[in-house]
Every structure is written in structure tokens, then in C-alpha cells.
Subunit: 254 residues, 2 copies
């Protein structure tokens, strides 16, 4: 005799609050996500069909679909036509967002420290002007910082920002990350173009990071855009590869 095969979402205490300003589909998707993360919905579990789920929650099918779709986009669920929707096995954690080194380190419990080396306004050189899409003689902020963990240098960050975009207080820069300051200033980050490579350290770079000349360095160049398409930041970073590497999760876009 086969086991009952009950709909696993029945046991879940699912329910939406129609009085809340939080959208219904979002309430549902959060509850499902939490159930997956807590292991209540185990990998491979087949969710009950959308129609029945909608009926049980007193929602319409489009609303339930919107909730499920958002989790599919996050990589937590997989839909199969004619079969159903099931929880993905793998341990998807962070599908690679536009990350701040400072936030990453803080989340890892590394207690990052920043030493601001340079914080001035200069006229844009050719490559900086091209990256930020500003005139070649216009003024830009130039920022050089050393990022340390446990008192040891880990990365050297050189950034340029269009002038007039943001007040850059050295004290604030040493207390938090650049992205957080930009967001706090009302800039909504939208996308970034990144290049990751490697090269041998020059004498000056080696000195800054406490390495030997010629030692391998991990490099990252990035231009960040806000939602109007303006370039709001151009950065050239070098990392000590024994202390830092880029780690992320990718989803296949279908």
C-alpha cells in the first residue's frame, strides 16, 4: 500500500494577513522561503498544485503563482509542466548580488577595518573619464583605501566618483562601506560591470599589501550604474589572494 502522499503545504501554517500593507504574494513567498530554509520543506518535496493551494489560502491562482515564481527566480523552486513544483535540492545561498566588500566581510564576522589613504578631488584622467562617462577635464572624487581584517591588509581599493554626487567624509568612510554611504545618500544602485583578473604585484602594490614584489594579486575593476544609467562609481581593487577570493552562486537564466 502506498503512503498517503499528503500535500506538504497542508502541514505548514500558511496564512496571509489581508490587513497588512505587505502584498499577499510576498507574504506567501516569504513563508514558503522560510519553510524551505528551516528544512520544513525538504529538498525534492513536491508542492501541492497551485489551484488547491490558492483555494486553501483564500487567494487567487495568479497571486499564488506570483509568489511561487519569485522563488523560482531565486532558484529555490523548480516548476515542471504536468508534474508540479518541487523544492530544489542544492544549497542555493546567495545568487550573486552586487556586493559590497565591507558588507561581505562583516557578514562573515571578519570585523573589517578601513584606512583612508587619499580622499581628494582631482581632474579626471582619460580612462577615469571614459569609465564614468564624464568630460576629461571635469572634477571627480578620488578615493584610496586600505581594507584590513584582524589588523592585516587584505585589499587596496581605489575609487573614483563623479563630483557633486555625494559628500565623502573620511570618518564615515572608515566606519562603513562606500556602497552603504551611497545608498544612504539616496542613490539606488542598479547594475555594475565587473572584470576580475590577476597580475604580478608592482613594488608599490606589494608594499601596500605587505607582499613581495611580483607576488600574484587578484584584481577587480568595476563601474557601477544607478537606475537612471549614470555611472556613479569606478573602482580598481587589488586583493591578496591568500586572504580573499570571489565566491558566488550562479543561476542559469532560462
Amino acid at each position: 500500500m502506498p503512503k498517503p502522499e499528503v500535500d506538504p503545504t497542508v502541514q505548514l501554517e500558511l496564512g496571509v494577513d489581508r490587513g497588512s500593507p505587505v502584498p499577499l504574494y510576498f507574504q506567501l513567498s516569504q513563508q514558503l522561503e522560510s519553510a524551505i530554509e528551516r528544512g520544513v520543506l525538504t529538498p525534492g518535496t513536491l508542492l501541492g498544485n497551485e489551484i488547491e493551494l490558492a483555494a486553501r489560502l483564500g487567494l487567487s491562482r495568479p497571486t499564488v503563482r506570483q509568489a511561487i515564481q519569485s522563488l523560482v527566480d531565486k532558484g529555490l523552486l523548480v516548476r515542471r509542466r504536468g508534474v508540479g513544483t518541487q523544492v530544489v535540492h542544492s544549497q542555493v545561498k546567495r545568487p550573486l548580488e552586487l556586493s559590497s566588500l565591507y558588507d561581505d566581510l562583516e557578514a562573515a564576522g571578519q570585523r573589517p577595518a578601513t584606512r583612508v589613504l587619499v580622499n581628494t578631488v582631482v581632474t579626471a584622467s582619460a580612462d577615469v573619464a571614459a569609465a564614468l562617462a564624464v568630460a576629461e577635464d571635469s572634477e571627480v572624487h578620488r578615493l584610496e583605501r586600505l581594507r584590513l581584517t584582524h589588523g592585516e591588509p587584505m585589499a587596496y581599493l581605489c575609487n573614483y566618483l563623479p563630483s557633486g554626487l555625494l559628500d565623502l567624509d573620511t570618518g564615515q568612510l572608515e566606519a562603513t562601506g562606500l556602497y552603504r554611504l551611497m545608498r544612504a545618500a539616496g542613490i539606488t544602485l542598479h547594475s555594475a560591470r565587473q572584470t576580475i583578473g590577476a597580475r604580478a604585484a608592482t613594488a608599490a602594490e606589494a608594499e601596500r599589501l605587505g607582499e613581495r614584489t611580483g607576488a600574484p594579486l587578484l584584481t577587480m575593476q568595476r563601474v557601477t550604474f544607478d537606475d537612471t544609467g549614470r555611472a556613479v562609481e569606478f573602482g580598481t581593487h587589488t586583493y591578496r589572494p591568500d586572504r580573499y577570493s570571489f565566491e558566488f552562486q550562479l543561476l542559469v537564466r532560462s
Copy 2:
């Protein structure tokens, strides 16, 4: 006197074919995307409102919304409540998909070549078994390849695959990429966990890539999962940093 401010989508020859099996929202999103890429819809342009657009095309608003939403997810459009939907300025090209080195090179017109160095079955070592989530003494495919462009070595690729997943023909491997073979075998790639770093080349690595011992190398480790959550590939790659770097576009997930 202000200029007419016509809806820019009016000039576009938009129209859907209801006889086609291609979904209507997809037809529309492709036409819009093509218009953006061809520069017909210039950055900053405000699309006409969804209601009117739907009426003009003989579609319902949800269908039009679905088309627009897919382009928002790609980063091509930005919606603002109470304002409208506008074309994003920046040059978003590839929002970072799970890419195949072979396909990337081919797309760049580099005519990649592959030399298969090793193609055997071995028993899984501890780290390989852990990455692929198989028993430590089980059999796995071991694959070592050298990827060349213009006859020069560019990357050394070492991959492991669970046994029985796929027939690995050396001839096919030299003619195309591993991912393409996997897809052709009915494996639907879903996600991958990647780590990018750098280190100094060992004597053996330097020899393989035509570098000097101690030269900086760009490294990438990756575990790929299919849509059932099985690990289907574990790879350790090393690249010559003067010939290759990782370049991609990130979107802020909101």
C-alpha cells in the same frame, strides 16, 4: 510651446502573431528588446503606459506587463510607480549567465581549440567526493584539457563528473565544450557555485601553460548542479591572466 511628446512605441512596428506557438508576451518582449538594442528606443525614453499599449496591440494588460517585466528582470527597463517605464541608459550586455568558456571564446571570435590530456575513470578522492556528493570510493570521470586560442595555451581545465552520467568521447570533447555535451545528453544545468582566486604557478602548471614558475595564475573552482539538485560537474581551472579575465554584468536584485 512644448514638443508633442508622442508615445515612442507608436512608431515601432509592434504586432503579435496569434497563430504562432510563441507566447504573446514573449513576442512582445523580443520586439521591445530588439528595438532597444538597435537603438530605436533610446536610453531614457519613457514607454507609453501599459493600458494604452495593450489596447493598441489587442492584448490584455497582464500580457503586456509580463513582457515588460521580463525586460525589467534583464535590466533593460526600469519601472517607476506613478511615472512610467523607461529604457535604462547603461549598456547592459550579459547579466552573467552560467557560461561555458568554449562558448564565450567562440562568441568572441577566438576559434578555441581543445587538447584532451586525460579522459579516464578513477576512484573519487576525498575532496572530489565531497564536491560531487558521492561516496569516497565511487568511480568518477576525470578529465584534463588544455584550452588554446590561436595555438597558444590559455587555460588548463581539470574536471570530474559522476560516473554513468554521460559518455565522454575524446573526439567530441576536442570539437566542442563540456557544457554543450551535457546539455545534449539531456542534462538541464541549473546553478553553480564558483570561486575565483589567484595564486603562483607551480612548476607543472607553468609548464602546461607556457609560463614561468611562480607566475600569477587566475584560478576558478566550480560545482555545477542540475535542476534536481545533483552535482553534475566539479572543475578546477587555471587561466593565464594575460590572456583571460572574467568579465560580467551584475544586476541588483531588488
